[in-house]
């Protein structure tokens, strides 16, 4: 996050840490601005600053920019395993991209990515918001229970994904057993093309609820209690309070949460790969999974189209990323 990270980052993954990363950052720039105006020219302190930042600058160039550049390089050449070893891949320009766009997997991956991302974040958000409002009302054990809600988020993704695989197993899974007790027929959750995407989406929603709960709960904490007191004096019930106070006041935090959720869900590989490897066929293949499968998932690595798909994915993530930065900047201004 997914720890993400969230975070989080993260983690997930994983993702809270990821959320924190998204919400803390821009603050530091503020105190820097006036001081910068005072010192002009490269002073001794400026050299010290560069010295302290140097490891990071080197790190970003060597371990971020260079791999990303190699990735672009991969996508405009025709890299086979042999060319990879010998280093004489043929330059093909945008051919790999053209191939990706005209591939029969492309429309499926597009639809799956949209469905997976959209359904995941809508349900994560709705559940996270409902729980945040519920936990805010404060009752016996509420803080303990809220802490326990974080558990799914800190488990390694492979652990949660394999647990879900076993729970959704056609013959021996607990889910089918419970459904069977209600007289329903066996569902081949992970092996039927009709339900594979649904299954990984359900698991991913479960993984994302803690992240949404944490961020939205902290957003709720910032709404002053007096607002609620005043409105209950006016006779507003809880439902009314939610729609006329909580929801509008939580709008900025909600937007950030949704956008971060979107960016992180686009990237998801682990959960889907471990549960279905994108199958059966392409039934649960998203762009991230497609890229991973082409490069590493089969015995025949095909790096060039994989890199092309990856770069398309970066572009999509960046569009929403910039939207997120824009929103955040506007919030700081207001």
């Amino acid at each position: 996050m997914t720890s993400t990270p969230a975070t989080v980052g993260t983690r997930g993954t994983h993702p809270g840490p990821r959320g924190a990363a998204g919400t803390v950052p821009a603050a530091p720039a503020a105190p820097a601005a006036p001081a910068r105006r005072r010192h002009r020219g490269p002073s001794a302190s400026q050299w010290a600053a560069v010295g302290f930042a140097a490891p990071l600058l080197v790190y970003l160039v060597v371990f971020y920019a260079y791999p990303l550049w190699r990735n672009i390089d991969l996508s405009v050449h025709d890299y086979t395993i042999r060319a990879f070893v010998q280093g004489n891949a043929e330059f093909v320009g945008f051919e790999n991209y053209a191939e990706v766009f005209s591939s029969s997997t492309f429309p499926t991956a597009l639809v799956n990515t949209v469905l997976f991302t959209f359904v995941s974040i809508v349900f994560q958000f709705a559940a996270g918001l409902a729980l945040a409002v519920f936990f805010r009302s404060g009752f016996r054990l509420s803080s303990t229970l809220r802490a326990m809600f974080l558990v799914p988020w800190l488990l390694p993704l492979i652990v949660s994904a394999s647990t879900w695989s076993w729970m959704l197993n056609s013959d021996n899974g607990i889910v089918n057993s419970v459904l069977g007790a209600f007289g329903l027929e066996q569902i081949n959750w992970l092996t039927s093309p009709d339900t594979a995407l649904l299954s990984v989406t359900i698991a991913n929603i479960w993984l994302g609820i803690p992240f949404n709960l944490v961020i939205l709960y902290s957003g709720l904490q910032n709404i002053p209690g007096e607002v609620y007191e005043a409105s209950s004096l006016d006779g507003a019930g809880p439902w009314r309070q939610f729609w006329s106070i909580t929801f509008p006041l939580l709008r900025p935090v909600s937007l950030i949460t949704l956008l971060l959720g979107l960016i992180y869900t686009l990237k998801v590989v682990d959960v889907i790969w471990i549960m279905t490897t994108g199958g059966p066929g392409d039934a649960s293949t998203t762009f991230a999974i497609w890229s991973y499968r082409e490069a590493f998932g089969t015995g025949q690595p095909d790096f060039s189209p994989a890199a092309a798909v990856g770069n398309i994915l970066i572009l999509i993530a960046l569009v929403f990323g910039f939207l997120h930065l824009q929103l955040q900047r506007r919030q700081e201004a207001s």
Binding site: S3, T4, F149
Partner: protein, 272 residues
């Protein structure tokens, strides 16, 4: 809010938490189930006759993988701190030129999908002969934590009172001494938070491990579980036991350090 605390809310809260944590319960349950009972219908809801075969298998076969994961986790923590803490100092307190741009780049860096980084690293490591090495994996895993770490350190350090730094300067401390003896000690809660997440992310990483380190002699535990699933679809109790063991450090860290994490993110450290 404190006037009345309805019992039904607590009951509902417990029920919701139980539902949410059911998969975790199921993980533990299956890990303790006898192999012969794994495929029984209906499944055993409670391990009445628990077996520890699964756990014996873990400690028999997966100890090296657990060790590798620990090594990768700690390596990632050290690398992240060494890079992120000075950078945070430069950005927050030394008024680094172009700091805004750097901040922006770090935010963008966090949006790059791991699978894309994995391909780039694969190409780079392939030419450098760094595939299947623990060091290579540590560096790749750290790319998840470094931008987060810098942003967190910057946010915290810019809240450090300027008087503290001026006092150090009056006492004749240079930039390095101020960093080492004033800024770092004051920022230890942030350092703990960053370390915690750097460790957790490295420990749980699957994408980099499964791409850059898949044929290594030393595979981390996440890959250990994954290979286990591939080879061994009948012994889910052993797979789940491995998964339980793999979850332990994460759980321990967050239970033990939860207070520090909250404190690190919110409170100023000048008081202590």
């Amino acid at each position: 809010m404190t006037a009345r605390r309805p019992l039904w809310k607590t009951v509902l809260g417990v029920v919701l938490t139980a539902l949410m944590l059911f998969p975790v319960y199921w993980l533990v349950n299956v890990s303790l189930t006898q192999t012969s009972d794994l495929r029984s219908d209906p499944p055993h809801w409670f391990p009445w006759e628990p077996t520890f075969e699964g756990y014996q298998a873990v400690f028999g076969q997966q100890l090296p993988a657990l060790g590798t994961s620990l090594l990768v986790g700690f390596g990632c923590v050290v690398l992240t701190l060494v890079i992120a803490a000075p950078a945070g100092y430069a950005l927050a307190l030394l008024n680094l030129r172009g700091g805004r741009t750097l901040n922006f780049l770090l935010l963008v860096a966090q949006m790059v999908p791991a699978v894309v980084m994995a391909m780039g690293f694969y190409a780079v490591y392939n030419s450098l002969g760094l595939l299947n090495t623990v060091g290579g994996l540590i560096v790749a895993d750290s790319t998840i934590a470094v931008p987060f770490g810098v942003l967190l350190f910057t946010a915290f350090m810019s809240g450090i009172p300027r008087e503290l730094l001026q006092a150090a300067r009056v006492d004749g401390a240079g930039a390095w001494r101020t960093f080492w003896s004033v800024v770092l000690p004051v920022s230890r809660n942030s350092a703990l938070t960053v370390s915690l997440f750097a460790f957790l992310w490295a420990w749980s990483d699957f994408i980099f491990a499964s791409t850059l380190n898949r044929n290594g002699d030393l595979v981390p535990i996440t890959l250990g579980i994954y290979n286990y699933i591939g080879n061994n679809t009948t012994q889910w109790n052993a797979i789940m036991a491995t998964a339980v063991v793999a979850s332990v450090p994460a759980a321990v860290l967050l239970v033990v350090a939860q207070r520090h994490v909250a404190a690190g993110v919110t409170a100023g450290a000048v008081k202590d």
